[in-house]
C-alpha cells in the first residue's frame, strides 16, 4: 500500500474518531480517469466535492487547498449507479424467505357476523382491494437497512424504491443509499406509481385473476379522474349540491391523474409487452414497463409507443436440478439465450431504458449481467447510461443526479478499472458527498428482495 493512500486512511479514521459533525466536506480526487456519464471521458482529471455536491470537474481544475486529496492514479471515477426499481432501504420489505416471492396480503380482518345476520356481500372494485396509493416509499425508508452497504460496495449510490405489496402498491421515491436520518435519503417523491398484476389473495377476493386485475385497474384510474371531476364540480357550486364521498385511494391517485407520476406496469414476455403497451395507452396516463426480458422481439414496437422501460438485469437462469427426461421447451431456451440481447435491441430502436436489480442475489451479479448485455452488443457507454443518466431522467432527477457535472449531487464510484470488467475492484463510493471505503475482500452482500411485481407471470398461474 502506498504512503499517500495510507495517510489518507489514517486521516479518515481520525476524522471519523473525532466527531460525526466533523466529517470532511471537501474532497478532491485527482489524477483520475473521469467518465462523467455525459460528454467525453477525461483521461487525467480532477473532481472536487464540496458540501455534498460536485463543485468542479475537469482536466485542469484548480484544487482548493482545504480539500482532502484522494490520489486517483490508476483509478476511474464514474457517476454513482442507480438501481431503477428496488426495495432498498425499506425495512419492512427485507425478506425472511426467498427473494422474489410475492407475499400475499392478508385480507382485512372481517368482523364475524352475529348469528342470524345477512351473509357478507362480496368485495367489489369499490372496496379498493390491494390499493394503497397513500403509501409512499419515501415515508418508509431507513438508512439502517443492512442491505445498503452491499449495494454501495458494488457502486450503487441511488435507487428508485417502491412499496412492494399490492396491485396498486403506492408511490416510489428516488433515494440516495445513505443518510443519517431517513428524510435525508430522499431525493424526490413521488416519482412513479408501482403496480403489479400479481393475484394477491388466492382468488378469494376480487380481483382474483389477471382479467380481474386489468378490469379493476381500468375502473380505478377512471374513477380517480372522475373523482377529481366530481370534487371540482362540487367546489364550483357547493350550495344546493350533494357532496361526493371522500375516497382515500382516489385521493392518493391524484399525482397519477395529473400526470406527475407515471404508472409502472410489469411486462416480461413479448405477449405481455404488447398487451401492456396497449393497456397503458388505454389508461391514457404516462407509464413505464418493467421486466422486458423478451424486449428483443419487439423493440421497434416499444419505440413507437414512446414508453420508456426498466430492464430487469436478472437474466433468466437455468434451474439447478434439471430432469434430463423432461427437456426444457424451445421457448424457454430461446429466452435464456437471447434476453441479454434485449438492451442492444432497445438501444438500436431508440427506446429509453434503465436497468434494475429485480431481487438479484448480489449487485456484483447485476453488473456481471450488464456485462453480458455488453457482450451481446450493447455499447459500454450505453450500459453506463442505463445505470445513471437515463434512470435519472426517467424519474425527473437529471438536474441533480446521473452524471458528474458541477452542481449535481456528489454520488460517485471510484474503481480501479473498467466498471464492467470482472477483475475491477471498487475502492470508494460517495453518497451525497459522504465517502465510503469499500473494504478489501468483498463481503458477501445480502440479497435484495425482488420487487414483488416481477412476479407478474405468477398471475397467469395462480388462478388455474
Amino acid at each position: 500500500m502506498n504512503r499517500p493512500f495510507l495517510a489518507l486512511i489514517v486521516a479518515l479514521l481520525l476524522a471519523a474518531a473525532v466527531a460525526r459533525a466533523e466529517e470532511p466536506q471537501y474532497f478532491a480526487i485527482r489524477n483520475a480517469r473521469i467518465v462523467p456519464g455525459r460528454g467525453s471521458a477525461i483521461e487525467n482529471g480532477v473532481v472536487v466535492i464540496h458540501d455534498g455536491l460536485i463543485a468542479a470537474v475537469g482536466a485542469n481544475t484548480i484544487i482548493p487547498p482545504a480539500a482532502l486529496m484522494i490520489d486517483g492514479k490508476g483509478l476511474t471515477v464514474y457517476p454513482g449507479l442507480i438501481d431503477a426499481l428496488s426495495t432498498l432501504g425499506l425495512a419492512e420489505a427485507a425478506p425472511a424467505t426467498t427473494p422474489g416471492t410475492a407475499r400475499t396480503v392478508a385480507p382485512p380482518p372481517s368482523t364475524p357476523s352475529p348469528p342470524g345476520a345477512e351473509p357478507q356481500p362480496p368485495q367489489g372494485p369499490e372496496d379498493r382491494p390491494h390499493t394503497t396509493p397513500w403509501v409512499c416509499a419515501a415515508d418508509l425508508v431507513s438508512p439502517a437497512d443492512p442491505r445498503l452497504g452491499a449495494a454501495r460496495a458494488a457502486g450503487f449510490t441511488s435507487a428508485m424504491v417502491v412499496p412492494p405489496r399490492g396491485n396498486i402498491a403506492g408511490y416510489g421515491a428516488l433515494i440516495n443509499l445513505a443518510g443519517e436520518r431517513p428524510g435525508q435519503m430522499v431525493v424526490k417523491t413521488p416519482v412513479a406509481l408501482y403496480t403489479t398484476f400479481t393475484v394477491m389473495a388466492n382468488w378469494r377476493r376480487y380481483p382474483g385473476s389477471l382479467i380481474g386485475i386489468i378490469a379493476y385497474l381500468k375502473q380505478t384510474f377512471m374513477d380517480a379522474r372522475y373523482y377529481q371531476q366530481a370534487w371540482a364540480a362540487y367546489r364550483a357550486e357547493v350550495n344546493g349540491n350533494r357532496r361526493p364521498a371522500h375516497d382515500r385511494a382516489l385521493e392518493g391517485l391524484e399525482p397519477v391523474v395529473a400526470g406527475r407520476a407515471p404508472v409502472l406496469l410489469a411486462a416480461q414476455t413479448e405477449v405481455q409487452i404488447r398487451r401492456y403497451l396497449e393497456l397503458g395507452r388505454q389508461f391514457g396516463l404516462p407509464f413505464l414497463l418493467y421486466g422486458v426480458h423478451e424486449g428483443y422481439t419487439v423493440a421497434p414496437v416499444i419505440a413507437q409507443s414512446r414508453a420508456p422501460v426498466l430492464v430487469s438485469a436478472k437474466w433468466p437462469a437455468r434451474a439447478r436440478e434439471l430432469d434430463p427426461e423432461n427437456p426444457e421447451s424451445l421457448r424457454t431456451l430461446r429466452l435464456r439465450d437471447r434476453a441479454p440481447s434485449t438492451p442492444v435491441a432497445l438501444e438500436k430502436a431508440g427506446v429509453r431504458f434503465a436497468f434494475y436489480s429485480d431481487g438479484i442475489s448480489s449487485y456484483k451479479e447485476m453488473l456481471r449481467n450488464v456485462k453480458k448485455a455488453i457482450d451481446a452488443g450493447l455499447p459500454a457507454e450505453a450500459a453506463l447510461r442505463a445505470l445513471t443518466l437515463t434512470p435519472a431522467q426517467l424519474f425527473g432527477v437529471a438536474d441533480s443526479l446521473g452524471s458528474i457535472e458541477p452542481g449535481k449531487i456528489a454520488n460517485l464510484v471510484v474503481a480501479d478499472g473498467d466498471l464492467f470488467a470482472e477483475k475491477t475492484r471498487i475502492k470508494y463510493v460517495f453518497v451525497d458527498g459522504k465517502m465510503f471505503t469499500v473494504p478489501e475482500g468483498e463481503a458477501r452482500p445480502e440479497s435484495a428482495p425482488a420487487v414483488a411485481g416481477t412476479g407478474a407471470r405468477k398471475t397467469n398461474r395462480e388462478v388455474n
Partner: protein, 483 residues
C-alpha cells in the same frame, strides 16, 4: 420460405418477417384444384377448384384457370370444407376466469389473449379456423368474450376477428352455485358469493344485474338529455365497466351466450331474456335442450352442444347424443363445440369427429352434419357473412382433409385462413427435425458457456420467465383432463 406458418419453430421468425410474408400472400392469388369441395351452402363439387384473391374466395367451380403468378395447391383426391368454427372454447388466453364475484362483466378475454398458446396450433391441426373464447362458467354473469381467427404466429390484436359482434358469457346451474358459508381464512379455494347456493339465487343475481343496468342506462339518458338541453356544470354519471356490457346487451349491441344444462333453467333464462327484451344468442352445453327444443326454437336462441359427453355431473345425467338431432328437427340452430381448455396430456377430440358421430344419432345428411361445425356456429356468432361456407365473397378460410372429413380415418393436411396457409402437415413433419436441432444447439451453447454447471442461484419464483402456455392441467366441463 413458405407463405405461412406451420410450427412453433418458425413462429418467431414468422413474426419478424410478418409484413413481408403477409404482403406476399395477399398479392399472389391462390388456386386450390382437383378436390372434392364440400361447400356446405350449396352441395358438393367434384374435381373442384377454388380461386382465392386478396384473402377472399373469388371463384368456386370446376376448371378454373390459374391466373398469372398464382400459387397452386394441388388437392387431388382430397376434400375441402369451410374452416371449422368452434363456438365455445377457452384456448389462447392466460386466464379465462374471474371467480371471486357473481357478476364479472367488467372482465374481458381480450385483455388476456395469448397468441403463443400452442393450443392454437393444435386446433389448427384439427381444421379449426375461428373460435369464440369465453369466460368460465363459475359466475351467473361472466365476462366479455373474444372471437378470434387462429392466425398462428400473429399478435393478439391480429388474432381478433374484425367486426365480430362482441359477446357476454352467463352461466346457470351447478357451476355458479357455491357454499354460502364464509370461508375459513386458511382454507384455500373456497369463497363466498352470496346469494349463490341455489338456482333461485342464480336467477336473482342475473335479474338484479340487468335491473341495475337499466337504472344505469336511465341515468345516462337523463344526463344526455340535460346536456343537450344546455345544462351547465353538469357532472356525468360515473362510468361503470361492469354495467356497460350489460347495457350493451339491452341495446342489442352485445350477444349473450349462456352455459346451461337443465330444461327448467333453460326456460328460466329464456323467460328472463324476454322480460328484459333481449335475445339469447346461444345456449352452451344445453344438455337437456332436447326436452324444451320447442321453446328454444320459439325464442330463436341457438344451441351449441357436445356430441356425446354425459354423466360427468348430475345436471348432465340426462345428456345424450340425440340432443343435436332432436333440437335440429324442432327448428333450433345447433352447433357442436369443444369447450377446449388447453392442457398437457389431457383429453382431446376434433370437431370433425364430433360431427361424424351425429350421423349415427340422427337423420342428418353429411352436409347437415358439416353445417354443425361451420355455417351454424358462424350464424350463432353472427360472422356468417364472412365465414362458414365456401361461397364467393367469403373469407378464404378453408380446411383440407385427405379423406372425407366425416370419416374417422381422415386427417387435416392443410388449413388456410384469409388465403394464407397456417397449417401444412407436410411442412410440420419437415420442421420437427429443425426444432429438435435448435433445442440441441441451444443446450450445447449453454453448456459451453457455463461448463461448471448452472448458475449459482436458481431463479426466484415469480421472477424467471414463465412460458405462458405451460399450465397445470385444468378441467373443462367434463373433467376431461387426464393426469
Amino acid at each position: 420460405m413458405t407463405t405461412g406458418i406451420s410450427s412453433i419453430a418458425l413462429a418467431a421468425f414468422a413474426v419478424a418477417l410478418l409484413p413481408a410474408v403477409a404482403l406476399a400472400a395477399s398479392v399472389n392469388p391462390v388456386l386450390i384444384k382437383n378436390a372434392t369441395i364440400l361447400t356446405v351452402s350449396h352441395g358438393v363439387i367434384r374435381n373442384g377448384s377454388i380461386l382465392v384473391r386478396d384473402g377472399k374466395i373469388a371463384e368456386v367451380g370446376q376448371n378454373i384457370a390459374a391466373p398469372a403468378g398464382a400459387t397452386v395447391i394441388d388437392a387431388s383426391g382430397q376434400f375441402i370444407m369451410p374452416g371449422i368454427i368452434d363456438a365455445h372454447s377457452h384456448i389462447a388466453c392466460d386466464i379465462f376466469h374471474e371467480t371471486t364475484l357473481p357478476v364479472t362483466s367488467m372482465t374481458a378475454i381480450e385483455d388476456a389473449i395469448n397468441p403463443t398458446d400452442i393450443a392454437i396450433y393444435r386446433e389448427l391441426a384439427g381444421g379449426v379456423t375461428a373460435v369464440n373464447i369465453a369466460h368460465g362458467s363459475g359466475n351467473p354473469v361472466g365476462g366479455m368474450d373474444a372471437t378470434i381467427k387462429l392466425r398462428w404466429g400473429k399478435t393478439a390484436k391480429e388474432l381478433l376477428f374484425e367486426g365480430a359482434k362482441p359477446g357476454l358469457k352467463m352461466a346457470l346451474g351447478e357451476n355458479p352455485k357455491s357454499a354460502a358459508d364464509p370461508p375459513p381464512p386458511d382454507v384455500p379455494g373456497r369463497y363466498s358469493r352470496y346469494p349463490l347456493q341455489t338456482r333461485m339465487g342464480v336467477e336473482a343475481v342475473i335479474r338484479q344485474a340487468f335491473t341495475e343496468a337499466r337504472e344505469y342506462m336511465k341515468e345516462w339518458d337523463e344526463y344526455k338529455r340535460k346536456a343537450a338541453g344546455g345544462g351547465r356544470n353538469l357532472l356525468p354519471p360515473r362510468k361503470d365497466l361492469k354495467l356497460e356490457p350489460l347495457a350493451e346487451v339491452l341495446r342489442d349491441e352485445r350477444l349473450v351466450h349462456v352455459h346451461c344444462y337443465r330444461a327448467d333453467e333453460i326456460l328460466m333464462i329464456l323467460r328472463l331474456a324476454d322480460d328484459f327484451n333481449f335475445k339469447i344468442a346461444t345456449l352452451i352445453h344445453v344438455a337437456e335442450g332436447y326436452k324444451v327444443a320447442k321453446e328454444i326454437a320459439a325464442h330463436a336462441a341457438g344451441a351449441t352442444a357436445f356430441a356425446d359427453r354425459w354423466a360427468y355431473k348430475f345436471e348432465a345425467w340426462d345428456g345424450m347424443p340425440y340432443n343435436a338431432a332432436i333440437m335440429t328437427a324442432k327448428g333450433v340452430l345447433v352447433s357442436l363445440n369443444s369447450d377446449r381448455v388447453p392442457s398437457e396430456g389431457g383429453g382431446w377430440s376434433w370437431l370433425a369427429r364430433d360431427a361424424a358421430k351425429m350421423l349415427k344419432y340422427s337423420n342428418l345428411s353429411d352436409e347437415d352434419a358439416l353445417r354443425l361445425i361451420t355455417l351454424n356456429p358462424a350464424k350463432q356468432l353472427q360472422i356468417d357473412q364472412r365465414v362458414g361456407s365456401i361461397d364467393p365473397g367469403k373469407d378464404a378460410d378453408l380446411t383440407i382433409f385427405d379423406k372425407h372429413p366425416l370419416s374417422n380415418y381422415a386427417k387435416v393436411t392443410k388449413v388456410l385462413i384469409d388465403g394464407e396457409v397456417y397449417f401444412d402437415r407436410e411442412q410440420d413433419l419437415k420442421n420437427r427435425g429443425a426444432l429438435a436441432k435448435e433445442v440441441q444447439e441451444l443446450m450445447e451453447k449453454e453448456k459451453k458457456a457455463a461448463p461448471r454447471g448452472p448458475a449459482a442461484a436458481p431463479p426466484a419464483p415469480g421472477t424467471g420467465p414463465a412460458p405462458p402456455t405451460r399450465r397445470r392441467p385444468r378441467q373443462n366441463e367434463t373433467g376431461e383432463v387426464l393426469q
